[in-house]
Amino acid sequence: MKRKLYELAHSRAGDKGNTTTLSVIAYRREDYELLRNKVTAAAVKEHFAGIIKGEVSRFELPHLSALQFVGREALGGGVTVTLALDAHGKCMSSALLEMEIEVDD
């Protein structure tokens, strides 16, 4: 069955220039492996198709049950020059948690 990432994890977005940072933190330690397997850098890049235009990289932090994603060319040139309403890309954390992943029943 499919489940929304929102049910399993929480997230905070940050910005550095035109780069976005997105954490994915499992509510339950036992879900970390599932997230690690399903929420890959490629899956996040596809989820944000047309929004994150550059590379997406992922860092694994098992002791925090967390993944950290870094997306380049993601903020319309950066907070100071973008035409986007959400100049910092702060709402991208919620967008990431809209991702659906396949889990065993």
Binding site: H10, R12, T21, I25, G50, I51, Q68, L83, D86, A95
Partner: protein
């Protein structure tokens, strides 16, 4: 884990426009040794430079007087030393203003102004920007260049007995690390302790973002009494281990979950977090809940600091024009989209960059993340944004959106328009030895 003798460092503001009164609560009831106020963003310092160009006595944080008027008697009474980057583009004028405020209240303070972060006059304009690789001299009219300076700029003022230390582009975590290095006598090449102190600074620097601010999601991640959010402090020992808490009776929440979100906030590589002081490895940092609203950190590692300092370069980026108009009821999204087509056809020839969104569907990420294509909310609001090098062209956006009142789709209402001057920010490096910081003392 047992902790040794500790000192307590609090954070009373996490950005320029942050709430005022949580710092007063910390200073009055927090049993602090040090209080830091982090009030400077990339763009904030560039805007402050513009204010200083217009008035040589301006260019410091616009909330300085309001924040300091309340804090002065409290930090004096409770012997709290204060560090802040509210000096922005003019630390000397900020320090003079604080001394003036203290005199008015009959309070004696020794204030240190930290200067030297302004590197506009020594910048090599033939070097490329870190973001775009184009030469600095070709990005447009440069209005500011401020190097991120660290603890080595602050330590002389702490040793010199300053009660209040005011600088400009001090790196956020350095405001918190400096008191630890000063108090415990850590060596500047003790990379692991510097890294642990940097973790303390990074967790504290956004104030409420550690104590449940920016965390709440009703029914999923509930945070109590957010209208009275308490700001955090840390008790830090000589090894750099730290316990984080907040004043009893304040609102908010400190948990491993709030701290994990903040630990990773704005971190582009958890194993190499660059500051002017150290390269900190957060990837081995442990977070542990000790009791309700108390967590403990331990275990970061560090590597030697970079020989270069990062510089934030501000430049004129033209004018942003924005305008909105709303539609309601059945078919409102279709009417907003028709308005978007009309606006785009009329504005495209006049503006290099134009963005048209429906608020409620595409305004935040440029497309919806919902799989439902035909979703129609009760209200839809058209938002148009564009940039131009001159204010008149940027103003066309508001004119055209307002023109929809009589020339656009049915039932448009609540039009709003604005034009604002834009300062862009790009970065470069400067060799550390070229940045010479100074301490100037003022006494009331």
């Amino acid at each position: 884990m047992a902790m040794g003798a500790t000192i307590r460092v609090g954070c009373g503001a996490g950005f320029a426009a942050d709430r005022i009164e949580p710092a007063l609560v910390l200073a009055e009831h927090g049993s602090l040794n040090y209080l830091a106020l982090e009030c400077l963003g990339e763009r904030t310092v560039a805007l402050a430079q513009l204010r200083r160009h217009r008035d040589p006595n301006a260019g410091y944080d616009v909330l300085l007087e309001r924040r300091m008027n309340g804090l002065l008697p409290l930090i004096k009474r409770n012997s709290i030393r204060l560090l802040t980057n509210m000096g922005a583009a003019n630390p000397l004028a900020a320090a003079a203003k604080v001394v003036e405020l203290a005199r008015q209240q009959g309070i004696h303070v020794r204030v240190a102004a930290i200067t030297g972060d302004d590197v506009l006059n020594i910048l090599d304009l033939d070097q490329p920007t870190l973001e775009t690789s184009e030469k600095l001299r070709s990005i447009g009219q440069i209005v500011s260049a401020n190097a991120y300076i660290g603890i080595d700029a602050l330590l002389p003022a702490l040793a010199g007995g300053a009660d209040i230390i005011i600088g400009g582009r001090i790196a956020d975590p350095s405001l918190f690390l400096a008191p630890l290095v000063h108090h415990f006598g850590w060596a500047l090449d003790d990379h692991d302790r510097l890294a642990r102190g940097t973790v303390v600074g990074h967790l504290l620097e956004c104030a409420g973002q550690l104590t449940g601010g920016y965390f709440a999601d009703p029914g999923k991640k509930d945070v109590p009494e957010m209208a009275r959010l308490g700001y955090p402090f840390a008790d830090v020992d000589a090894e750099g281990s730290a316990r984080f808490g907040k004043v009893a009776g304040t609102g908010g929440l400190i948990s491993v979950a709030t701290a994990t979100e903040q630990l990773l906030y704005e971190v582009t590589d958890p194993s190499a977090y660059y500051t002017p002081d150290v390269i900190a490895d957060f990837s081995t940092t442990n977070l542990q809940q000790i009791e309700r609203d108390v967590i403990e950190t331990s275990g970061a590692r560090g590597k030697p600091r970079s020989p270069h300092l990062k510089v934030s370069v501000g430049y004129h980026a033209g004018y942003l024009g924005e305008a909105e108009i709303g539609y309601a009821g059945e078919n409102c999204v279709a009417r907003a989209r028709l308005a978007a087509e009309i606006i785009t056809e009329r504005l495209k020839p006049h503006l290099q960059e134009l963005r048209v969104d429906v608020v409620g569907l595409t305004a935040l990420h440029s497309r919806t993340m919902s799989p439902e294509d035909n979703y129609c909310p009760y209200e839809a609001r058209l938002r148009v944004a564009g940039r131009s090098l001159d204010a008149a062209h940027a103003g066309l956006i508001g004119e055209e959106v307002e023109g929809l009142y009589t020339n656009g789709p049915a039932g448009g209402g609540g039009a709003r328009r604005s034009v604002s001057e834009q300062i862009g920010i790009l970065s470069c490096f400067v060799p550390r030895e070229q940045v010479v910081t100074q301490v100037t003392y003022f006494e009331s």
